[in-house]
Amino acid sequence: MSATAGAPGAGAGGGKAAQAARAERARASAVDRTGLLAGRDLVQVRFGGSGGQGVILMGVILAMAGARDHRFVVQTQSYGPEARGGYSRSDVIISDAQIDYPELEHADLLVALNQASADEYIRVLRSDGVLVYDSENVTAVPPFKGEQFGIPFTRLAFEETGRKQTANILTLGAVAGITGVVTAESLRKAVLVMVPAGTEEINSKALARGLALRDR
């Protein structure tokens, strides 16, 4: 444990052999990723909404799916002190290389669930990025020239499962389907691990509906 004998290593990366094995597995999973952002070796994602919409959980699930694709991930968050309302955001970095700086410098993908977050975070979205928003909550779409998808996630979730709380999972499905930042298989597994016990079935339905939106 002494500094000379065993100074701590570079961080979460593991040894060279482990890194090579991870890279190999990451390449294997890349075959299953298709979509607008599937080819990027570094993807920075921001989810924005208001407290209670499940924004932080979305980030956690996406990060877990990215980890299941054997890529390096970091998920951070920022939220106000309120339990409901207030702002909430969740950032995920998915990379083929080890991640040093843990926060977003800009976003390749912005998922906005309310007007305030669309207005606030559009400035961090790269011009070659992708904007996904809930078209019933974000009525005044901020000016953006790149790819954009306005989908009534909350309404679709209610139609599909009878519960608008599943909107976040449906959105995740749509995001993965359209952009390919994670594989559908990893996302499915991550959703099942993370959603509250007893809600697996309705959340799986919401996820499937979201994934199907890629074929619109």
């Binding site: 444990m1 065993g6 100074a7 701590p8 570079a10 040894g15 968050q77 920022s78």
Partner: protein, 392 residues
Amino acid sequence: MERWHTHVLREKIDPSSMLIQGNRACALGALDAGVRFFAGYPITPSSEIMEAMAVELPKVGGVFLQMEDEIASICACIGGSLAGQLAMTATSGPGFSLMQEAIGYAIMVEAPLLIVDVMRAGPSTGRPTAPSQGDVMQARWGTHGDHPAVVLAASNVADMYRLTMAAVRFAQRFRTPVTLLADEVVGHMRESFAPELIDRYRLTSGDFDFSPSYIHPELVREVHPPHVLGSEAHPHVTGLIHDETGFPTNDPQKSEKFLRELYDKVGNHRDELCLYDVKNEGKGRVCIVAYGSCARSARAAWKLAEKEGLQVEVLHLYTLFPLPVEIIQKVARRVEFMLIPELNLGQYAREVRKMAENWTTVISMGKIDGTLITPREILDRVTELVGKYESV
């Protein structure tokens, strides 16, 4: 490996895709290091450590106590420690302030403890969900009187696991409280985490001996024999300056001897206690000295600089106290500037300056707006330093 890392390995079926929150990794590190006693009071951004311990400790026969406040929490830990448990608590700035008096008591009575402070922006209630490194000097000098301190700083989720283990080991070996500093970003972030890495921190069976009479064989002459409650001898434990009987003394010679021994048992083992990592060794005119989240920014700045054709060295400190004098002075001799980015107004930069100013120029780079220092900000400062002095 499996034997020592049971808790962390149970987290996920597939270890290559582990994703753990920093605070949870800290709790798992403590459990894997043998911590079986936790007393605390929840506070953002450290609460997840306590939540994990509340769930996990009863499963392994440990004791979990939610106390009425942080003063009671640390005092319960001292009690647990004196009764032969390696006790742990976790808190944030306001709670850490409340604990200070009892931390001094723990140092005096040589109770091995682990205190985790997940720093928020302060002072006072500050900003509970914003990161900061404002408690660095408090971790060193928060309790009154001259005393030794062992303070580690975690920069990522893997650190939260392995430095917690290291902290437990240091506390047990040197019979003293050890503070692990993290910040809101490190505590709350979730990150992929490779368990193969931690194999080299394998603990040996002696490291799990928390019996109250245990002293590591290498340290017999330096660590005072503990007073064991429940043994046949009459134990006496006091925060007053005491001699080997455990009873108070006013004898100047004995007082000085006692305090110097407390100091020396830590100070003489800097070699073991001071953990660090040097990147891009010996290259460039500037060394970025960083710890905690800022070390991540520093590493990113180094790679960014490399892309732009500029070399910088990075000294990543995992141990802040005892001061890593040797490595600081070694690096100071070969660079023109030491740049210290930190999320406070230069608390640790002043320490580095004291150690290094004979050989190099120490530049403090503080930020207190509750956001991280970006790699670009660091690199801009490096470029400015190198450019500014090139023409002179």
